[in-house]
């Protein structure tokens, strides 16, 4: 297979084979997973476990019913449990996967046989999730994602690490040690380990460690994050809000803690405050809020440490791999060519420490529903926190040719009229606030309006000023935001459509907004919609971007 692997050094110069005349592999071309593979035997257990987790509420309901002397609920729960056992047994014995030719094929089902065939070239990423139980058995769940839909194309629960490594190698065709860097190609070199079949965990454990070692040695370590940074990032974030929300939901469902009003809430809350501190309920409310805030921050920090502990970003040729997690370990592989969008976030609380975070968007598993640990890590927080000084180096690693020199970039700002336009808006809002103020106090009500005006106008002006747009040889950069300063990069060969909009207000002020649409936009939390541009400039850019899009065809593969 070396004949394939030596043909190119760089991505862009790789020969472009149109779909129709795709070089087909001969059947004995050395792809590892040519014959069907089964899941690992422990899958039975994990499948049941995951099914039970879905039915946890009916099961609890049943148990509750039994406790109050009603066996019917328990019967239902039993049936559900039995069914889930049956389903997972059938699934285990019928599911097999293989790579045949250019397709990754998963067959499944007894009565209704389902064959799912995914072209290997279309696979966007292969994610691996390992919770504590998985780690004890040295197995993991594998999600295989393409650009379609919201769910992974295939979920293999569970495979041994050796099987996974083999699968990854065959899918992404990474090179052996000591081989020259070569372009990823539709034809895969043989995988690292031949003939590792469906061994049990014990047998393959030795091999697995070998693989792990060799591939780590071969991998290019790009970044590690010390725990100190993770704690800082956690403290700066409000991630805990989500978790606290869930906890609060549980508490308020309890019988003896019913939420009637803030007053009773604080009275009830006061029970948990030591006697010396307990004055009146207003005081305890303040203390409660403060405590809640501290708790929120602690939970956020803990969440960051749990999820991103031991974060390692490595690269082997064109595949980036993120590995992290304390209990549930996640390992996500993202081919560099599949990165659609890169965004650098600098939250206000992290800026004094010189820290930033990087988010990327890939087209795989784009939906918001059922976002699992792997999706969180590989898309939302690709690099959860890193020193600002490392950003430029990493950007070049994420996208070859992205040579970012902040000082040399020529930025375009928003229209000159933005200030005036915002002034009108702010005046209107302040007038409304003044009116409300005057309802309260005829003498002093206007103060609210004036205060609001000063504050809002300052914020609006700064916000408008923070918006900047730049054209670069490879794409577009856009920066915006006051509290969290976001700077995003979109690439000509990754843009899907360009779009220029004018609202009636825009037209009145001779402005327009420019929007760039990419695949699976959203997770990076920074939309490429550049508002308040001068009309003429926006239209000019619209035309120019159109030309650039035509000139940069999206063909990396």
């Amino acid at each position: 297979m070396s004949s394939e692997s030596d043909n190119n050094q760089g991505q862009q110069s790789s020969p472009r084979i149109p779909d129709g005349s795709q070089v087909r592999l001969p059947p004995d071309a050395g792809l590892a997973i040519d014959e069907p593979h089964y899941l690992h035997p422990s899958s039975l257990f994990f499948e049941v476990f995951s099914q039970i987790r879905q039915y946890i509420w009916p099961a609890l309901f049943g148990a509750f019913g039994l406790a109050s002397g009603n066996p019917f609920g328990m019967g239902v729960a039993g049936v559900v449990l039995g069914l889930s056992f049956l389903v997972s047994t059938i699934r285990y014995f019928t599911l097999r996967y293989r790579i045949k030719g250019d397709d990754f094929i998963v067959t499944e089902g007894l009565l209704f046989r389902r064959v799912r065939s995914v072209p290997v070239r279309r696979i966007q990423n292969v994610d691996l999730i390992q919770n504590v139980l998985h780690r004890l058995c040295s197995v993991a769940v594998v999600n295989i994602e393409t650009a379609s839909g919201t769910k992974p194309e295939a979920t293999l629960r569970v495979l041994t690490l050796a099987q996974i490594e083999e699968l990854r190698e065959s899918i992404f065709g990474s090179q052996r040690e000591s081989e020259v860097v070569s372009a990823r190609h539709s034809i895969k070199p043989p995988p690292l380990v031949d003939g590792v079949a469906t061994g049990t965990g014990d047998e393959s454990a030795g091999q697995h460690t070998q693989i792990a070692k060799s591939s780590v040695a071969n991998r290019n370590l790009l970044l590690e994050i010390p725990t100190k940074y993770l704690v800082l990032a956690g403290l700066a974030s409000n991630r805990g809000l989500v978790i606290l929300g869930v906890i609060a939901g549980f508490i308020f469902q309890g019988e003896n803690f019913q939420f009637q009003s803030w007053r009773t809430f604080s009275q009830q809350f006061a029970k948990y405050i030591p006697n010396q501190l307990r004055g009146d309920s207003d005081f305890s409310l303040v203390v409660g809020v403060l405590l809640l805030f501290v708790l929120l921050k602690i939970v956020s920090a803990v969440w960051y440490v749990l999820r991103f502990h031991g974060y390692q970003l490595t690269r082997l040729n064109n595949d980036l791999r993120v590995t992290c997690g304390l209990f549930t370990k996640v390992s996500a592989t993202i081919p560099r060519g599949r990165i659609q969008f890169i965004s650098v976030h600098r939250p206000i609380l992290l800026r004094p420490f010189g820290l930033a975070s990087i988010r990327i968007e890939t087209a795989g598993g784009s939906g918001k529903e059922g976002e699992d640990a792997a999706a969180t890590v590989s898309r939302r927080w690709f690099v959860p926190v890193l020193p600002d000084s490392e950003v430029v180096r990493l950007l070049a690693e994420l996208r070859p040719g992205l040579d970012w020199q902040q000082d040399e970039v020529h930025w375009f700002g928003v229209s000159k009229n933005t200030g005036k336009r915002l002034l009108r808006l702010v005046l209107l809002i302040s007038a409304a606030i003044s009116a409300f103020g005057l309802l309260y106090s005829l003498a002093w009500g206007w103060v609210f309006g004036v205060a609001a005006f000063v504050f809002l106008f300052a914020v609006a002006k700064k916000k408008a000023k923070s918006r900047r747009y730049a054209r670069l040889p490879w794409g577009v950069a856009y920066q915006s935001g006051l509290l969290t300063r976001r700077m995003s990069f979109s690439f000509y060969d990754r843009m899907q459509t360009v779009d220029c909009q004018q609202s009636p207000f825009d037209r009145r002020w001779k402005m327009a907004s420019l929007r760039i649409d990419t695949a699976a936009a959203g997770p990076a939390d920074h939309l490429m919609q550049i508002d308040y541009l001068d009309e003429a400039f926006a239209h000019e850019q619209f035309g120019q971007l159109q030309t650039e899009l035509v000139a940069h065809r999206p063909d990396w593969n």
Partner: protein, 202 residues
């Protein structure tokens, strides 16, 4: 109130015989990539004039349904009593509503028609549309994933079709352009598919 589709339906200031070569307004269009050969194809075009009749008819139907619902629903007002003119006021209200709805159904499509232009050139397809909120949208040929052409029952009467262009994008994952002549929609589809490289776009 009824327009026959065989007669010229565009009474409200629509220049129906200028379908080709419309330049809707100002400055540069980045059309400099065009070949000399397909110059006319590169110019902006309007939808089929039948679009207006079609929209009017659907407008009339919607308006009639609304009136059929609203008039019986408010008819108890007739017996409200009090003064002798109350029933007359109600009837006047109905008439006003009917007039507004039907006038709206009649006038609005022509305004919409005048504000939609599209072109298919070497750069791809570009659509300008919107009356109050105006959009310009460009889809390069290489970003077209697949194309649908659909035709509803009323559209069939007017020989119209809707073309839906799918891209791998998010907000513009599918872009619809309705009111094209059906044959033209099919032609665009063929052209988009023929010119598109059958290659991955991600």
């Amino acid at each position: 109130m009824s327009d026959d589709r065989s007669e010229a339906p565009l009474s409200v200031g629509v220049d129906s015989h200028q379908e080709t070569g419309v330049e809707p307004g100002q400055e540069n269009r980045a059309a400099d990539v065009s070949d000399a050969a397909d110059g006319p194809a590169d110019a902006f075009q309007r939808l089929s004039p039948n679009f207006v009749s079609f929209e009017r008819w659907t407008g009339y139907i919607v308006a009639s349904v609304l009136l059929i619902v609203v008039i019986p629903a408010t008819s108890p007002l007739l017996w409200l009593g009090g003064y002798f003119w109350v029933p007359w006021l109600v009837i006047a209200g109905w008439c006003a509503l009917a007039a507004i709805l039907l006038m709206g159904a009649h006038i609005w499509p022509a305004i919409v028609y005048r504000n939609i232009v599209w072109r298919l050139g070497t750069t791809g397809i570009e659509i300008h549309r919107g009356v109050l909120w105006q959009h310009r949208l460009a889809i390069p040929l290489s970003r077209v994933q697949h194309v649908d052409v659909a035709q509803g029952p009323i559209q069939r009467m007017f020989d119209l079709g809707t073309i839906t262009i799918h891209t791998a994008g998010t907000k513009n994952a599918s872009v619809e352009l309705s009111g094209l002549e059906h044959a033209e929609a099919m032609g665009i589809r063929d052209e988009l598919i023929a010119q598109r490289e059958s290659r991955d776009v991600l």
